[in-house]
Amino acid sequence: MMSKINHSTTERVGVYVCHCGSNIAGVIDVEAVAQWAAEHLKDRGVVIARDYKFMCSSLGQELIEKDIQELGLTRVVVAACSPHLHEATFRVACQRAGLNPYLCELVSIREQASWVHTDKHAATEKAKAIVSGGVERVLHHTPLDPLHVPIHPATLVVGGGIAGIQAALEIADAGFPVYLVEREPSIGGHMAQFDKTFPTLDCAACILTPRMVSIGSHPNVTLMTWSEVTNVAGYVGNFTVTVKKKARYINTDLCTGCGICQEKCPKKVIDDTFEAGLGYRKAVYTPFPQAVPKYPVIDHVNCTYFQKGTCRACEKLCPTDAIDFNQEDEIVTLQVGNIVLATGYDLFDARRVAQYGYARLANVFTSIEFERLSNAAGPTNGNIVLRDGVTVPKTVGIIHCTGSRDRNFNNYCSAICCMQSLKFAHLVKERTGATVYNFYIDIRTTAKAYDEFYQRVLEEGAIFVRGRVAEVTDASRMPNEEGKLIIQVEDTLAGLQRRIPVDMVILSVGLEPRRDSHEVAKLFGISCSSDGWIIEKHPKLDPVATMTEGVFVAGCAQGPKDIPNSVAQGAAAAARVLGRIQQKEIALEPVRASVDESKCSGCRICNGLCPFNAIIFHEDRMVTEVNPALCQGCGTCVAACPAGAISGTVFSNEQIFAQMEGLLLHNIEHPPLTEGVLA
């Protein structure tokens, strides 16, 4: 084979091959790879090639630093794990030794070779080719300096549930301004709907409302309810956020929150949101008495005046003339440095499990309906009754995992349903004395004091049947079943089918991402999993950051979790934001795409592709520009540009082609490969 690269180099390259314990060395002959690089890549500038047990250890890093200083290395190639893990480690090591960090290249022989191959010989040959590619590429690197951008001290928190409240309070208490934007008329989120919280059975309102009041009165918090974020521009430290404040039709400067409008409004509407469809509200309403802010909103879809042009009862009776039917949506622009997304979850729609009869059989309830039913401030004043509003059930069946751990719906465990079901079992027992059956797959009570609560509910006499319920039906077979709901289930511990007649069924429905989570993710330039949960930067080591700098996530928006975990994540996100604000400026990776305006034809193909909204189109000059502070260096636009006008600072065509030539071993005289191992 002819060598296609024959220009010589004056660079001095060091190659470091990591064993990663046995992760790499168990499959790849790392010594052979180092030795090969030293011999065959000598002409390509390699002056030293070493292997070491753990290159990422302090000793491994010191090895590189020493070589840079003593051998005068000008380029470094580390063959180890994925750049996601340790690129930063080795760049910093080079920097310590006085070498520009961007003259270091980390190539992966673990994720892309040792972990995915079993043929040791072939994997070793592949590792050699990968090292060769890294060497060719690094020769084309240039020194780069990070960008420094100032950080605006204000923070946007999206979502006023318990996670968002916690994040907002932490930041505000530290002395920095916070904008809290909430879609509903009041903050409080799902937690405000609950009666008791597990496992301590604290009253949810008693522990939540003081926090809500703090938000409402905090000098550093600007609360914007009945509002939605419609646009996000800018980048970490300097976001410009557009918020639509929907018309409340209430002049909040005049409104005292006296509630006369709600009392007198003649239009009664089923409240699908706060009361989960189980109760009523008026067309002018606050979702619940402790709402923050105290101002109501007028629901113009149901308001008689907006629909028919007459009524105005609220306007006539308002003692402070606060009703303003002419109010319009208001667009507000905010400057913030960081964003915390705490947008929460939606509940699984129990109608989808048709065999459980929700919305067909009157006395099948969902978990959130039961929360309202058992809530002293709910539609029945906390009386647990059937849908006729009066009958107290004598037997109640609670079906766990409705919509969760089910390949027909959601594969994941919703994390809260076991404890929620146990709480329901306790409340039903306590308040009605009814016989309670729990139908479960596994009981998962894995946090502090959770299993003790399970033991308590067992001791209270709740009955547990292990098995997924086949169906809930009103089709009785025997006289004792008539008028009842019959739960058909395989008891997998006893190994038999059971038919259990009950008066009431509670479906413990799972949590799902918000229906609009994909649109929200796009708005904020972050990603969702295919399920729709927001993807964190690292599932273990960075669970509150996202892949977009300056955008953090807290609470159930990231995945199902209970109240303590939501609060912890809200506080953690706040800590990260505060750390950023304290730095006053942030250094950004200089790995960026840039557009050669002379080559740009203005076709705009790249415009819609950027996942970080970093591309600006100049209508006047008909050219595209990449905002370097927003660009995350993903390379999508570079690949898409038909004119080849876009290049990336660490992924230029020159660099990529050089790496490919290296991988194909076009850079050495006598390539050792006899068969394709790069398949």
């Binding site: 189980l278 919305a359 509003g389 039906t473 089709a475 077979r477």
Partner: protein, 336 residues
């Protein structure tokens, strides 16, 4: 426009389910389907054969598929009206697609008769699927000249058509609504029948009568509890079990149910204005004439007159007071 279909009648439609065939043939031109019978078709194996001889049962079906593929001129859709035939044909086709060994073995067997079948060549579909999903409920509605107003129907799907749903044809496999919607479209009152996919007894009527009686009782009792005038089905085996064994079941349990079991094609025909005779009405064991006369349709006297049940209890009153009931999200057909 006429949809041409390769028709696999199966044995039932020729004998016990003759009214199903007669009514299907009668309504075909009205709903725009043209049936071309697969020449020289053979048994589908029914429910039993696959349990006794796995390979032979697939080879048996394979022959039908090969013949259908050979005959396909202008269509690749094979339609079966019998649920068991439909399931067996679909099952073999599907297994042959995913199991190379079975594919080879079946084709080895077919070779003896000079046949070959490439799995996936024909698309196997049930009559209800074609009517609801291809022809469409709106088209059916336009053909209705005699809406079945006042007839209270329990829609009964049986176990074999909705599950497994390999091609995503049904809205919900556990609680399908296709037949419900179709029956509403022809003006009938449709109950939310909770047992719509439960077992009719299958071949238990041949091997274990007490089991069969109990399974039949559950369904008939369930429909009677909802005060259905009749049950409508789309499967010859369901119809046979519930109809032919209903009087024996009554004797067994000392009950006196009278629940006529008709084919959905017969009701479509009635709604389209066809005469009861051409739709095979009057051939059922449990006489439907009383139920149908309630909506002004006179059926010729049946061969077997059975005792009638009088004094139906009054229909359940709807609960009005209390907490609001959650609504189903899909829009219900409005003309009840």
């Amino acid at each position: 426009m006429t949809t041409k279909l390769l028709f696999y009648p199966g044995c039932s439609l020729q004998r016990t389910a003759r009214p199903y065939l007669d009514s299907l043939v009668a309504i075909s031109p009205l709903i725009g389907i043209e049936l071309e019978e697969i020449q020289d078709w053979n048994c589908c194996g029914a429910t039993e054969y696959i349990a006794i001889h796995h390979l032979a049962s697939h080879a048996l079906v394979g022959r039908n598929l090969a013949l259908a593929a050979q005959q396909s001129n202008g269509t690749h859709t094979v339609m079966a009206a019998c649920s068991a035939c439909y399931l067996n044909l679909a099952k073999t086709d599907s297994y042959m697609q995913v199991n190379a060994q079975l594919n080879r073995q079946v084709n080895d067997a077919l070779q003896a008769g000079g046949l070959h079948y490439q799995p996936g060549t024909v698309r196997i579909r049930h009559l209800l699927d074609i009517i609801v999903n291809d022809i469409g409920i709106e088209e059916i509605r336009t053909q209705v000249v005699r809406p079945l107003k006042g007839l209270r129907i329990a829609p009964y799907y049986g176990c074999m058509i909705a599950r497994p749903d390999r091609d995503n044809r049904w809205d919900n496999v556990e609680h399908p609504l296709a037949l419900d919607k179709l029956m509403k479209a022809i003006g009938a009152e449709v109950i939310d029948f909770p047992l719509k996919t439960h077992c009719c007894g299958g071949h238990m009527t041949q091997i274990n009568m007490p089991t069969a009686y109990e399974l039949i009782r559950r369904l008939v009792y369930g429909a009677a509890q909802y005060h259905a005038d009749l049950m409508v089905t789309l499967c010859p085996m369901c119809q046979l079990n519930l109809d032919a064994y209903q009087s024996e079941m009554n004797r067994h349990f000392h009950t006196s149910y009278h629940m006529p079991i008709l084919y959905f094609t017969q009701l479509l025909g009635l709604a389209f204005g066809l005469e009861p005779e051409v739709l095979g009405l009057g051939k059922e064991f449990v006489n439907a004439s009383q139920a149908l006369s309630r909506i002004g349709i006179e059926v010729p006297a049946t061969e077997l007159e059975l005792e009638m049940v009088e004094n139906k209890p009054a229909r359940k009153k709807k609960e009005k007071a209390g907490l609001p009931m959650p609504q189903m999200r899909h829009s219900e057909e409005e003309d009840e």
